[in-house]
Amino acid sequence: MNWKRSLIAAVTAVPVILLFAWGFTRDPGEIPSPLPGHAAPQFSLDVFAPGQPPLSRPVGDTVRLADLRGQVVVLNFWASWCGACREEHTVLSTTARLYTGRPVHFLGVLYNDSLAAGEAWIAEMGGQSYPSMQDPGARTAIDYGLYGVPETFFIDGDGRVAYKQLGPVTGVGLAHIVDSLIAALPPKPAAPATKSRS
C-alpha cells in the first residue's frame, strides 16, 4: 500500500461529503423570492371590480402603487380558476372590511383570467369587499415574480415588500402581519388615515 497517496485521495473526498452534509440543512422544495426587503415593483392598474363600500373604487379607476406610499398595501393575486383562492377569499374580504379606516389597502389583481370570469367568480363568492384590478399581459405578475396563485404581497409604508405569502392566507397570519406593518408606520399628525383618492 502507498499510504501517502491513499491519504491524499481520501482528502479529496472531504469536500464532497461536506457538500452533502451541508445539503441536509437546506430545503430543496423552498421557493425563494428576492423581493422581501426590497422595493416593491411599481404598478399602475385599472380597477375592473369595484368592491363594496366603503372600500370600493370606481371601475376604470387607475391605482398606482406610488400614490399609496406611507400606507400598508396587501396585494393579492388571484384567478377564478384557482381552487385555493376560494379558500382564502372569505378571510381576505372580511379582514379588509375589519381594517376599514386603518392605513392599509387591500387590492386584488386578477391573474391570467378573463374579466367576465373574474366578475362571475366574485358574484359567486358573494362579493369582494375591496377592489380588484386587471393586469393585461400579466405584466405586474411578472414584475412580482409570481410563482402561482394565490400569492399575496405585503408592502410596507416605505414601499418595500415586507413579506410574501405563497398559497392561501389564514386569518390569524394576515391580521398579525398587517398589524405589525401598521405599527411600524411613521406616526402621522393627521390622525385618521387618508386615502389617496376617495
Binding site: M1, N2, W3, R5, S6, L7, I8, A9, A10, T12, A13, V16, I17, L19, F20, A21, W22, G23, F24, R26, P28, G29, E30, I31, P32
Partner: protein, 672 residues
C-alpha cells in the same frame, strides 16, 4: 405476531454479519483456511434471515396485518392483491428491506459459485459483501424498521401511493432496477477483494466481475427502459425521460458499467487499463450509493423522492465511508495496477474503445454535475437554481451522437492495427446505411441538426453491426456448409460476448431510432370536444364518443371513449381516463396509447364536464416510440447471450475462444 418475529430475524442477522466481517481477515491472515467456510456461511445465514423477514412482510401485506407499521402505512383492504404484494417496494422501509434481500441473494450466490476457488480473493470479496449487507441490516433494525408495532391497530390503511398502483409496470420496473443497481455491488466486492488480498495485479477478478457486471448491466438496462415505459404510460405528458435526479441516478452507474464492459476487454486481451478498470468498477458502485443517497435523503428535490427522516444521515455516513475507503484502496494499490500492454496503432479497435470510455465518462460527469449543480450553486453562491432538460439535452447530445458513431466504427476495426485496405473494406459499406437514413430523415421532415446526424450515424452503425453478423455467417456457411439457422447458432455460441455485444449495439440503435423519431416528429394538440366532434393531429383523426364514469373496488374512474377514424371508418377505440383514489385529492390521469410499429397515438383526458357534455382531450402523435421498448428487449437479449455459460471446450477449459483471425473474415472454429 409476525412483526416482532420478523424483526428478531433481522436483529439476529447483525451479529452474524459482524462475525463474518471479523472472521474473514483473521482466517486469511492466520492461514486458518478451515474458518473460511464459516465466513461464507454467515452470508448464507444472512440470506435466510432476510428472506424470512421479506416473506413475513409479504404475508403481513397480504393478510392486512395493520399491526405492522409498514402495512399500516401502505396497505389497504381495497387494494387488489397484485398491488398489495408489490407495495413491498412502494415506500422507503419496504424498499430498503427488498434491497437488503436482493443484496443477500447476490452475496450468497456469488460466494456459493466460487466457494472452492483457492486464494484470498473470495474471502475478501465476501468481506466486502458482508460489510455492505451490515449497513442495510443496521438501517432495517434502526431508522428504516418496517416492522414497528402499531398500537392501537388500525382497521384499514390508506393504500399505496396512487401513482404506484395505477400500472402493471410498477411490478416490473422496481425489481429490475434493484437487481441491476444492487448487482453492481458484486463487481465492486470483487475489486475490493482483489485489492485487499493483494491479488489485484492478477486478472482473475476481472474475469469474475465481468459476468456479474453483465448480469447487473442487463437488469439495469431493462429497468431503465421499463421505467421510461412506465412514465410514458402513466404520467400523461407523452414523454419518457425528463432528466429528473432519480432518473439520472439510475443512468449514472449504467454509463460507467457500459464503459467497464468495453474497457475490461482491453485488460483481458492486452493487459491495458488496469487502474482505470478498478476505478470504473468502484466508481459504478459509488454512483449507485450516491444515487440511493440522493433519492432517499431528500437532499435534492425530485418527483421520485421518498419522505425522509433521520435515514439521510445514515446514508451520508455510509457514502462517506465508501468514498474514503474506495479512494484509499485504489490510490494505495495504484502501483500494482501498471499497464503491461500498449497501443500498436491509432487505427485499431483499442482506440475506439478508449474513445468510447472517454465519451461515456464525460457523459457521466456531465449528468452528475447537472444533477448536483443545484446543491453546489447554493453552497457556493447561495442562490437557488434548477437544472432542467435543456441543459442535459444540449450538453449530452454531442456525446450521444459521437457514441452512435463509435458504435459503427468499433466493430468494423480489428484489434492492434488496421491496414488501409481493411479500413476501406470495413468502413465504407456502412456508408450506404448512413446515406439511406440521412435521406430518410430529411424526407420525413427532420430539420434539426442533431436529429439528422443521429439518424445518419444510427444508419451507419446498424449496417456495421449487422455486417459483422453477415460476415461471420457467410464465412461459416462457406467453411462448413451449414444452414442459416445452424450457422447463426454456432456463430453466437462460438463467441457469445462478441455477438451478444453486437446485438446489444443493435438494440441500442433501435432504441436510439425511437428516441430520435419521437423527439423529432412529435405533434400535439389539445381540444375541448363535444361528443361527435373530431380532432385531427398529424393526419390522425379521432372522434369523441362519450364521457362515462364507473366505480371500481379501490377507485372511481372517469373516462372518455374516443374513436380512431381512418377514411371515415372506426379502426380503433382509445379510452383515456382519470382515476380518483380515496386517499388523494388529485386525480391520477391515466392516458391510453394506441401503439403501432410506425408510431403512437397518445390520448390524455385533461378535464371533463360532470354531465358528459364535453371533455378536453390532449392528443399526441409520436412516431417510432414503441421502438424504444423493442430496442430495450434486444439489448437485454444481447446481455443474456453475453452472460450465458460458455460451452465447455473439448480440453475442458471454460474460457471463451480467443478470436485470433481478426483480420478480415472471422471464422470461429468449434469442435466437430
Amino acid at each position: 405476531m409476525i412483526g416482532p418475529f420478523a424483526y428478531d430475524a433481522l436483529l439476529i442477522a447483525l451479529p452474524i454479519l459482524v462475525l463474518g466481517i471479523v472472521l474473514a481477515p483473521v482466517a486469511v491472515r492466520t492461514g486458518r483456511r478451515e474458518w473460511i467456510p464459516v465466513v461464507y456461511s454467515t452470508l448464507y445465514t444472512n440470506f435466510l434471515l432476510v428472506s424470512t423477514a421479506t416473506v413475513a412482510m409479504i404475508v403481513a401485506l397480504v393478510t392486512h396485518d395493520f399491526s405492522v407499521s409498514y402495512v399500516a402505512q401502505v396497505g389497504s383492504r381495497a387494494t387488489p392483491l397484485f398491488y398489495t404484494v408489490i407495495s413491498l417496494w412502494g415506500a422507503l422501509e419496504g424498499s430498503i428491506l427488498f434491497w437488503a434481500w436482493v443484496l443477500a441473494l447476490y452475496g450468497s450466490v456469488v460466494v456459493w459459485l466460487n466457494r472452492n476457488r483457492p486464494g484470498n480473493l473470495i474471502p475478501y470479496t465476501a468481506l466486502a459483501l458482508l460489510a455492505v449487507s451490515l449497513f442495510f441490516g443496521i438501517l432495517l433494525v434502526g431508522p428504516a424498521n418496517p416492522f414497528h408495532p402499531v398500537f392501537p391497530i388500525p382497521a384499514d390503511g390508506p393504500g399505496p401511493n396512487p401513482l404506484l398502483q395505477n400500472h402493471i409496470l410498477m411490478g416490473v420496473h422496481p425489481p429490475l432496477l434493484y437487481l441491476g443497481y444492487v448487482g453492481m455491488t458484486v463487481p465492486f466486492a470483487f475489486a475490493v477483494g482483489a485489492m485487499l488480498s493483494g491479488e489485484v495485479a492478477r486478472d482473475e477478478w476481472i474475469k469474475l466481475s465481468h459476468r456479474w457486471t453483465l448480469v447487473s448491466w442487463g437488469f439495469l438496462s431493462a429497468a431503465i427502459i421499463a421505467g421510461m415505459w412506465w412514465s410514458y404510460e402513466v404520467l400523461g405528458w407523452g414523454g419518457y425521460w425528463a432528466w429528473d435526479p432519480v432518473e439520472n441516478a439510475s443512468f449514472l452507474p449504467w454509463l460507467t458499467a457500459t464503459a467497464y464492459l468495453h474497457s475490461m476487454v482491453l485488460q483481458e486481451r492486452r493487459g491495458m487499463l488496469r487502474l482505470w478498470n478498478v476505478n470504473l468498477v468502484v466508481g459504478t458502485f459509488v454512483l449507485t450509493v450516491l444515487g440511493t443517497f440522493l433519492t432517499r435523503s431528500g437532499i435534492i428535490s425530485s418527483v421520485h423522492a421518498f419522505t425522509v427522516g433521520v435515514i439521510g444521515y445514515y446514508f451520508l455516513a455510509f457514502i462517506a465511508l465508501v468514498l474514503i475507503a474506495a479512494l484509499v484502496m485504489v490510490a494505495g494499490n495504484s502501483d500494482r495496477l501498471r499497464t503491461s500492454g500498449r497501443m500498436d496503432s491509432a487505427a485499431s479497435r483499442e482506440t475506439v474503445f478508449l474513445l468510447n470510455n472517454l465519451f461515456l465518462t464525460a457523459f457521466m460527469f456531465t449528468v452528475l454535475i447537472g444533477t448536483l449543480f443545484p446543491l453546489i450553486a447554493e453552497a457556493i453562491r447561495g442562490v437557488k437554481v434548477s437544472v432542467g432538460a435543456p441543459f442535459f439535452n444540449r450538453m449530452t447530445l454531442p456525446m450521444i451522437v459521437m457514441l452512435l458513431f463509435l458504435m459503427g466504427v468499433g466493430p468494423a476495426l480489428p484489434w492492434r492495427s488496421a491496414t488501409a485496405a481493411e479500413m476501406r473494406s470495413k468502413l465504407l459499406p456502412p456508408l450506404v446505411g448512413a446515406f439511406l437514413f440521412c435521406v430518410g430523415a430529411l424526407v420525413a421532415g427532420a430539420r434539426n441538426f442533431y436529429g439528422v446526424v443521429a439518424f445518419t450515424f444510427v444508419g451507419y452503425a446498424a449496417v456495421a453491426n449487422l455486417r459483422e453478423y453477415w460476415i461471420g455467417l457467410r464465412a461459416r456457411r462457406n467453411a462448413h456448409g451449414e444452414g442459416w439457422a445452424t450457422a447463426l447458432y454456432r456463430l453466437i455460441r462460438g463467441n457469445q460476448r462478441r455477438y451478444g455485444g453486437y446485438l446489444a449495439h443493435l438494440g441500442l440503435l433501435i432504441a436510439a431510432l425511437g428516441v430520435a423519431g419521437s423527439s423529432s416528429f412529435r405533434r400535439e394538440r389539445e381540444m375541448t370536444m363535444k361528443p361527435g366532434d373530431t380532432l385531427t393531429v398529424a393526419g390522425q383523426t379521432i372522434r369523441l364518443k362519450g364521457v362515462w364514469g364507473r366505480e371500481e373496488v379501490q377507485r372511481s374512474v372517469i373516462g372518455a371513449t374516443v374513436e380512431v377514424l381512418k377514411n371515415g371508418r372506426v379502426v380503433g377505440v382509445i379510452e383515456p381516463r382519470m382515476n380518483y383514489y380515496p386517499t388523494s385529492d388529485q386525480p391520477v390521469p391515466t392516458p391510453q396509447v394506441r401503439s403501432t410499429i410506425g408510431g403512437d397515438l397518445y390520448l390524455t383526458l385533461m378535464s371533463f364536464d360532470p354531465n358528459g357534455a364535453h371533455a378536453t382531450i390532449r392528443a399526441i402523435v409520436q412516431p417510432l416510440v414503441s421502438w424504444i421498448w423493442f430496442g430495450g428487449g434486444v439489448i437485454v437479449l444481447g446481455a443474456l447471450i453475453g452472460m450465458l455459460p460458455a460451452r465447455r471446450r473439448p480440453n475442458g477449459s471454460l474460457s471463451e475462444p480467443d478470436v485470433v483471425p481478426v483480420r478480415g473474415a472471422v471464422v470461429v472454429e468449434t469442435a466437430p
